[in-house]
Symmetry: C2
Subunit: 247 residues, 2 copies
Amino acid sequence: MKFSAIPVNIYKMKQIIIASTSTVHGSGYLEYLLPQIEYLFSKSSTILFVPYARPGGISHEAYTNTAKKAFSKIGKSVKGIHEYNHPIDAIKNAEGIFVGGGNSFLLVKQLYKYNLLLAIKNSLSIGVPYLGTSAGSNICGLSIGTTNDMPIVYPPSFNALGILPFNINPHYIDPEPSSKHMGETRETRIKEFHKFNTLPVIGLREGSYLYINDEKIILKGDLSARIFKHDLTPYEIESGSDLSDLN
Amino acid sequence: MKFSAIPVNIYKMKQIIIASTSTVHGSGYLEYLLPQIEYLFSKSSTILFVPYARPGGISHEAYTNTAKKAFSKIGKSVKGIHEYNHPIDAIKNAEGIFVGGGNSFLLVKQLYKYNLLLAIKNSLSIGVPYLGTSAGSNICGLSIGTTNDMPIVYPPSFNALGILPFNINPHYIDPEPSSKHMGETRETRIKEFHKFNTLPVIGLREGSYLYINDEKIILKGDLSARIFKHDLTPYEIESGSDLSDLN
């Protein structure tokens, strides 16, 4: 009996960090998360960086340099996906993937343009470690329908990777009772989302992150997170909670 | 010589109020703007209300009742567009139109669904008075690309009415220097917009509104507004400024 070749990493488990933010107040880029990132990418020497979300509209090169500086502190090389002629192959061959924050509409538009969503999803399912921050976390949900970003470009869909069975609201922020501003609070916005969508949403405060190990999804970081379920009162979950069954 | 019939209001001038918000802190719905609304709709006895933006996801009926209460104070009737079988005809026959705030994505999706954008634009161009607040103001710009809203539904396009030759950012809010939140400031978001779009944007603070009289666009209210032009440093304009040439 003969068996066809199986990729060596097909038996690996999912290893994913989905962080609310790249940077917490008073700290450098990715600094608060470096030990976890080092562990996540312990078997990867070069990380493929996806700079498409371009925070503040900075160039792919400038953004990749920022990621390079942070990863150099843990002895890892970084290469930007824009440096490759064939982005799909870059994803397929990546030892580790980091999708940085910025604008979720722009990020998703580029991922559709280069037909990368399925490629990323496949890589993650066979155990290629993945780090997402902010917009790079948002796309791990079912859609970008709970992003905080401005719709500066029109993507062909709001559907995202669906690594998680729910949606992310990164940079979650509690209502400010003393505010005189009449714009909607974050909670009001997510409640509006639930008038037209039934999937759960997790409000991830800055400094919080989800750690996916195989099929387990655990809330990490110092803070609690806020869970919004369709037709239910929102509630808090403590760090360490298992979210594997949130759907 | 014979002439075909010309609608009686074809010689009228555009009469439009585009307000940052329906409600300022510590005041009732539309209260701060009632004298101006009374003047705007002085020749209209019934106002057609478009409740599609559904703030907080409230029903068309509940939202229309809110509008009815406010307009009853100036002796005007209000009818919701959802009460009509043919929304296009409702627009065509309206003596005055009010598009309320809520979610811009939802509003635009509904306007496309019922094919109402052109009908509204036509009515406004022949002098039917129009009031927009928040999302209802956002759609007066060239696109909803500078909305603050959450993308809770996917509209077929971000293109809007284009009554103005620029975009609106309603509920404009200045950066809070003491904030420890790492989410983007409004100014950063609009700067990101300008990396991918060249049209000007006006940041309208709560309490500010634009008054369009014929082809003149004037900033009204107590506050200054912030102008964002592609590749230029943002700047303030005082209340009373003429924005007719901003494009």
